[in-house]
């Protein structure tokens, strides 16, 4: 019944479909396989030290996260120190950035970067692989003088040998105070009253330590078993439907729409969300918070480390840091900035999310660290829960 002309067209149609399928598959493979080219080989774990060369000069390249600095600081530094700065905002995600620079660092190169900014655990990971230089403290008197006491001795870098905080932040609870007025602690998040109405972070190093704090674990001495026990608790809550979703910043949509009444979230987001919706409020968990930092680090092979250290020292002068703090709304790691704001912007100075006083953060801890092998085991267990 079918005309012979149509018969001939069929294979053409089949071919068209196969081509379309191949194109689609190609598109998917391209999406998934971006990091396909990482090669093996051992990292040199012997750490280098910064070698200073007289007065800062020349040019310096700094990689930072987007929207993490005001417009005036870079030109002001260039003028004050006579150094040319190339400031690039190419860090969007710790792991992604690691994927990008790791092949270079492996060969002892930094891709022309004199400095970049990564979060605590990533700084430690890079240090363990031998990718970061030990800083020369003699060029950093302002850091010595002004670094917040609570940030001076984090467990991942005791004594701040290779990392100096750029900005810090707190991980705790963000609530809808109209919908969950009584929710005050991490343990409360497990209350069946809020079943299906709480979001946890996909960021393991925030979520799991907070749950350990609810369990009463001392984070500084947390063992692999403590991590695993907390992950089991999270798994039980996920399986029972207590936890609605694991999210990143996108918890904000759940909070504004009321899909979630409380989430584990970041202080900097809370400042922003509060402005948009007065019912959204940050709560310091009764157990305390996680205090994290994004840190300035100098990679191996970095050109002009002298100027990079001058930059670190420059932003640790309170009057210079105040300009950055006014713009970014995160916790400033520099003492003495609050006093400047007391005079110029007393409203901002009172905000505990930007200038937490020591009594506010007294129960807070820095992110506990794991050895490489433990880290991989614990990550796998946590991701199994997230991807359940």
């Amino acid at each position: 019944m079918v005309s012979s002309e149509k018969d001939q067209r069929r294979p053409a149609a089949a071919l068209a479909v196969l081509v379309a399928v191949a194109v689609l598959a190609l598109g998917l493979a391209a999406c998934g396989g971006g990091d396909g080219g990482i090669q093996g080989g051992g990292g040199d774990t012997e750490s280098e030290s910064v070698k200073l060369e007289g007065k800062p000069s020349g040019s310096v390249t700094i990689s930072n996260w987007p929207l993490y600095i005001d417009k005036g600081t870079v030109p002001a530094f260039e003028k004050a120190e006579g150094v040319k700065v190339k400031y690039i905002e190419d860090v969007n995600d710790n792991t992604e950035f690691f994927g990008k620079v790791q092949p270079l660092l492996q060969q002892g190169e930094s891709g022309g970067r004199s400095m970049f900014v990564v979060t605590d655990w990533m700084a430690k990971k890079m240090r363990d692989l031998g990718y970061l230089q030990t800083l020369d403290k003699s060029a950093l008197p302002a850091v010595e003088e002004n670094l917040r006491a609570s940030l001076k001795d984090p467990s991942f870098d005791p004594g701040r040998e290779y990392s100096i905080p750029w900005q810090s932040g707190m991980t705790g609870i963000i609530v809808r105070k109209d919908l969950a007025p009584d929710l005050k602690s991490i343990c409360d998040l497990f209350d069946p009253k809020y079943k299906g109405k709480v979001d946890f972070l996909t960021e393991m190093r925030d979520t799991v330590p907070l749950v350990m704090k609810c369990e009463g674990v001392e984070l500084a001495s947390a063992s692999e078993d403590d991590w695993m026990a907390a992950i089991d608790k999270i798994k039980a809550a996920a399986d029972s439907g207590q936890i609605r979703r694991f999210t990143g910043n996108d918890y904000s949509t759940d909070l504004t729409s009321g899909n979630a009444v409380a989430v584990i979230g970041w202080s900097g987001d809370a400042v922003q969300l509060q402005i948009e919706n007065p019912n959204i409020e940050w709560r310091m968990p009764t157990e305390g918070c996680i205090l994290w930092s994004d840190n300035m680090v100098i990679p191996i092979g970095a050109p002009n480390p002298t100027a990079a250290e001058a930059w670190i020292n420059y932003v640790y002068e309170p009057k210079n840091q105040a300009k950055i703090a006014e713009y970014v709304n995160y916790v400033t790691p520099v003492e003495g900035v609050k006093e400047i704001f007391d005079k110029s912007e007393p409203e901002l100075a009172k905000n505990q999310l930007i200038f937490p006083d020591d009594s506010f953060t007294k129960n807070c801890d820095t992110q506990p660290t794991l050895s490489g092998e433990e880290d991989q085991k614990v990550s796998a267990a946590f991701q199994a829960v997230v991807n359940g």
Partner: protein, 282 residues
Amino acid sequence: MRRRVVPYLLLLPGTAWLLLFFVVPLYYMAELSLNSGVVGELEFNWNWDNYSEALSLYDTQFIRSFIYAGVATVAALLLAYPLAYTIAFKAGKWRNALLFAVVAPFFTTYLIRTLAWETILFDESPVTEILDALGMAPEGHVLATSGAVIAGLTYNFLPFMILPIYASLERIDVRLIEASKDLYASAAQSFWRVTLPLSAPGVVAGTLLTFIPAVGDYVNAQFLGGVGNRMIGNVIQSLYLTQSNYPAAAALSFLLMALIMVAVFVYIRFAGSEALMGEEAV
């Protein structure tokens, strides 16, 4: 002599493109999937364990992905066929307008379209309340359930189903349908024995174009799903981008590719080959 060279020259750009952006990355990924160790200390040593581990650790997500994609494909087919049929045979002067309406959502990016569903389906929304009243939201919410993920997949890939079916329906010689009526076939008989078989290539193409990307999708599960709704795409993404476990991620990608290929071959063998190759006994 020259005439023989020309076809190869014409093939050259496409072949080079495929080699550079498909075969080469595929080779690197294959090598990576047989590495062991952590990033920075990766070592190639024919580590086939990555594959067996991936399968035993993530079998749930594999099965879930194939079920979600399968249900979404069937749902899309049931929605798309009547629509394509109407556009092809009954729309008259509205045909182009309707086709445009099918394609129009594509002017917005995939991500935005998916996020829009978050707004439509939030817990207190009228839509959610209606669904709840109808008993279609047993947990009291629609978002963060498997239903939401499947609905999102169906919605996002629906045009891939509609367009090929429309194209094959539109090509049907209406005289064949008329002939079946002349031979005393009822409307139903002439649909089942003439129209449907003749549109089979479109159905097969549509199901493949929907099913294959749906299995590997992770956007819908991420934004519309909740705990226990993540698909294999989410696992691969998390292995690559949060756990930096590149070998496992690469192995999982290959397994997914292999499983999709097996599924597609089985499907074409039993349902599609006749339709595609034009040997159906009409």
